[in-house]
Symmetry: C2
Subunit: 257 residues, 2 copies
């Protein structure tokens, strides 16, 4: 399989796993939770979890639930962030809060979050992962969730602040908002393969930098992308007053002139 | 120490632990997260965790972080539920979203949630709890969070539905919304004391029934309580169209007449 086929195959496995996990009552709560899972996305983070595990082990089936848990955490942040940013469309469908209303959207995020931690403890044990590995996974995953919330709060503060933000503030922000979940994706895969401490740490650093690079490109797409190609809206960041790198650099250039 | 003194002493220990955990940046995010911790409350759930542990062990210091984690989960639901119910006052102070705005309130809840799981994995290990105990704690705690979200979603559906709700629907709802966290408080304390399976299960049942009874009384206070004595607002449930037991019984009686 080439890389594209591998990515598609992982995405399909991850989607199936998540959708089977997000069954329950009340029905509308679980429909809201699975709204973005059904509407698209590359499943990049779970792919990184699996590839990081594959670096140390041949068999990686047991890591699928952990990979899916990371995607569920990512989805939880998408649902809550869309509320805060008042975004109306994601993956070409109405955002969860626009479609299901604010209360169910908050709860949909909370359920994704709770289910992710349940999956780690439940399937971790089922897959025969040692108990100390499971408590490591919980520790790393909860730390990345703290980082994600701190990053989003920094984003809100930077957006509402009319003062000029520095490039280093931007890097700090996307380190928390995107770098941390890419870092933990690498870490979790390596931890599941019982890799040694140095390898885990190095992979985490690699993941963090990849996440930062990914976010810079994503922010560029948000300014000059072609929605037909990228399927992502253009101009939202400018409208919302976000201080992404391309916007910061444009302001800097304009001020010099 | 009499029971009241024990309760006050536990509350003070739990508050100190939580406040030291909720330090970080951005500052406003952590102020929002600790808003209700500072404004009062009895800390009933952590008290139950500690008392349940004490049934099987003399020394219970190691269980304080786990007890605090349960209170953090409770606080997380208070912050998010207040947004959904559009409540303006709790413990005689403005609710988190009224004081810090909607985005920070959502994030404050998310941080409380994340920190609770981090505390379980981090302090559980530090306190020398076996790894299999920690993964059990995570599993039980995440299940109770799922129950809390499902219960709140049922509450929203029942409130917006103009149809008459039955008493059994109400009991189902408060079982999820209140019973589950009381049940898990008992369970977690007993698990930390390495109690046997039967004792853990019996305590969980006891906790669940206590939670249901507690909620019935709380809902009664919400209709006929004296705010000067209970420090809880009266009439909110009626105004919001909630179908609590006293309201259901009043409608039933009125219809008969």
């Amino acid at each position: 399989m080439n890389l594209k086929q591998q990515l598609d195959s992982t995405a399909s496995d991850v989607n199936n796993f998540i959708l089977s996990t997000l069954e329950g009552k009340p029905r509308d709560l679980y429909l809201a939770s699975s709204h973005y899972v059904k509407s698209g996305g590359k499943r990049l983070r779970p792919f990184i979890v699996i590839k990081s595990c594959e670096m140390f082990e041949e068999k990686v089936e047991h890591v699928l639930p952990i990979a899916a848990a990371v995607e569920m955490i990512h989805n939880f942040t998408l649902v809550h962030d869309d509320i805060m940013d008042n975004d109306e469309v994601r993956h070409s469908v109405p955002t969860v809060h626009k479609y299901y209303g604010l209360p169910l959207a908050i709860l949909a995020g909370d359920v994704l979050f709770s289910k992710a931690f349940q999956v780690v403890s439940h399937y971790g044990t089922k897959a025969g992962l040692p108990d100390n590995v499971i408590s490591q996974l919980v520790s790393k995953l909860s730390q990345s969730c703290i980082d994600l919330s701190e990053g989003q709060a920094m984003d809100i503060n930077m957006t509402s602040n009319t003062k000029f933000s520095s490039e280093s503030q931007y890097i700090k922000l996307i380190n928390k908002k995107t770098g941390s979940l890419f870092a933990v994706s690498c870490e979790l895969g390596a931890i599941c393969a019982l890799a040694n401490k140095t390898d885990i740490e190095n992979l985490a650093k690699f993941g963090r930098n990849m996440g930062i690079a990914f976010q810079i490109v994503d922010d560029l797409i948000g300014v000059i992308g072609d929605p037909k190609v990228t399927k992502k809206p253009v101009g939202n960041d400018i409208r919302e007053g976000k201080k992404t790198l391309p916007i910061l650099l444009a302001i800097k250039k304009a001020e010099r002139k």
